[in-house]
Symmetry: C2
Subunit: 333 residues, 2 copies
């Protein structure tokens, strides 16, 4: 019996999707990116995606609140729409509910949903609630709109690589949660970044409305290196990133220092930051920086696209270069 | 602790959706029908829905094949689109996978997906596969298009009530499966009707393209009576159905007879037939019958809409009338 583990998540998706023969004549992009893309009217595309969270795999009820879980379940899905340069419009939520989940828990979960829906002006348009005695799960399907669509495919050698926000906060926050180190302002912020990530919808909107030639984009859910590999594979290019340029928060730096945690693995491979990772030719950088400065949101150049296909390397502070392995990011199986 | 069971599925949906404050300005129909509805361009609406199937709640691996499960998981969702008079276009599939599910099982499941996608010209556009150690689940989100949208709301006293196909086959098939009575041509057909239901997309298309004034529509997933109650509540009317008019297959009649199974409870409350239940004024009946005859598909008048709100009654063969209870259909919790 061939096990799913042997194929891995992406191998499995590739394996299974090859069995599907029907493709809509108007389909722009099917399986394999953050969203599927379809034209709905001239100049406007629909972007659609779905994500599931399973208890004790993607969240633990002992370390989160129902409100935070509700917020995160939606934010993670909205991030997929942002990753395509889209604006989320509506969602469908499925709840698989064991008997132990109470109505008051669901009330709080929905308060979390409601917060995110209000914040992003997204309508929870429907869903399904089913009995699921052995596990609690949440599935979110999200539909968004995009005039311009940014995919993983299109990065060119010489393009520069950017990320929004900071890296590693979420995975460090998870470490602190697991160690029950919840005290102190820094720890609290890092844990909050893990439990309550921000979908970069605003940043995606800036890029989409600008004239900047974004050649590829993805959201960082599996870690910088693994998600950069997704871009490199789809674009048939390589990438070089610079240790010195990886953006991190002061809280991250202080906590790594205090607890003697090596920061680099978290910056490179820590998952669930939900920052945007994107590429553009050098002549767009001025415009990019101006727009992000104006909106008061952070963006940092972390590297450049290279010719060598499917190779991501790290230029270290000491002048040496190291090839980074794809497999060290978060594996879902 | 208030339990979900106390509210029931529909009470829960009502309770939770009242907490959601954001409504899109262009939203035509939100939570509470088979699908949510949005305009995408002049004269065209989008209809969206989602459905989850959980192992040992909605299916058992001991009584179905992976291919049939794949077909049914999609058909059930396509039926929601049909219920609104829509044409399904694309789906997103989430799989929650325990380790015991093998790649070859998934290959067969996808063969089932592929069959339905080809049959209905629906594209499986994306999805999510997640590890779910304790339970196997499938979530399907489906997006369709509809020029005319048929909702549950709009039935008027005096309208006539119709169903497509036959009733009770699926629930009788399930009974036979549970009793392991798989032999014989009749049993095989009934079991097949349970494991491999047909989404009435063709019939919905006939209605949508016709000029018939369909005043309300739903698909029968929870049983004729319960789904008729959904129409009555949304439309603020009542209904009378006639025992003698309830359509059943010859296989159903023979098997009930042979096994001494009372047919009426199955016809009234048996779930998962996925037939369409709809209403129209009497002056549309000729046109309706002509169109369905031409397409060689079955449609039967089973009753009429009455003034008395929220009361569904059954005119019995012996001339008496009985009020039918809403709660006898399939309850999801």
């Amino acid at each position: 019996m061939r096990k799913i583990k042997e194929l891995g998540e992406f191998g499995l998706i590739h394996h299974l999707s090859s069995r599907l023969k029907f493709r809509a004549s108007d389909s722009i992009l099917g399986i394999g990116d953050d969203c599927a893309v379809y034209p709905v009217k001239p100049g406007m595309n629909e972007v659609i995606s779905t994500d599931a969270l399973v208890e004790n795999i993607h969240f633990k009820l002992s370390t989160t609140t129902p409100e935070a879980l509700g917020r995160k379940a939606l934010s993670v899905s909205l991030s997929d729409i942002a990753a395509m340069g889209g604006t989320p419009k509506r969602i469908l939520v499925t709840l698989g509910l064991p008997e132990r989940i109470s109505v008051s828990f669901l009330d709080k979960l929905y308060s979390g949903f409601n917060e995110i829906c209000n914040q992003y002006k997204v309508e929870l348009a429907g869903g399904d609630t089913v009995s699921s005695p052995k596990c609690f799960f949440i599935n979110v399907a999200v539909i968004g709109e995009a005039k311009r669509v940014f995919t993983r495919k299109g990065a060119k050698p010489g393009d520069l690589i950017f990320v929004t926000g900071t890296l590693g906060d979420s995975s460090l926050g998870l470490k602190l949660l697991d160690k029950k180190k919840k005290g102190g302002k820094d720890n609290k912020l890092l844990i909050e970044r893990h439990l309550n990530p921000t979908a970069r919808v605003q940043e995606a909107g800036i890029l989409a409305r600008s004239s900047i030639n974004i050649t590829s984009m993805i959201d960082i859910s599996d870690g910088l290196v693994q998600d950069l590999y997704h871009i490199c594979k789809a674009s048939k290019v390589g990438a070089r990133i610079f240790q010195d340029k990886l953006p991190h928060s002061p809280e991250f730096a202080r906590t790594c220092d205090k607890d003697s945690i090596p920061p680099l693995p978290l910056l490179l491979n820590g998952g669930e930051d939900y920052e945007l990772l994107f590429t553009l030719p050098a002549d767009g950088v001025k415009n990019l920086n101006r727009q992000f400065l104006k909106a008061k949101v952070l963006v940092t150049q972390v590297g450049e696209i290279t010719l060598k296909p499917r190779k991501v390397s790290l230029a270290m502070r000491d002048g040496t270069t190291e090839t980074l392995s794809e497999s060290e990011g978060f594996n879902h199986f």
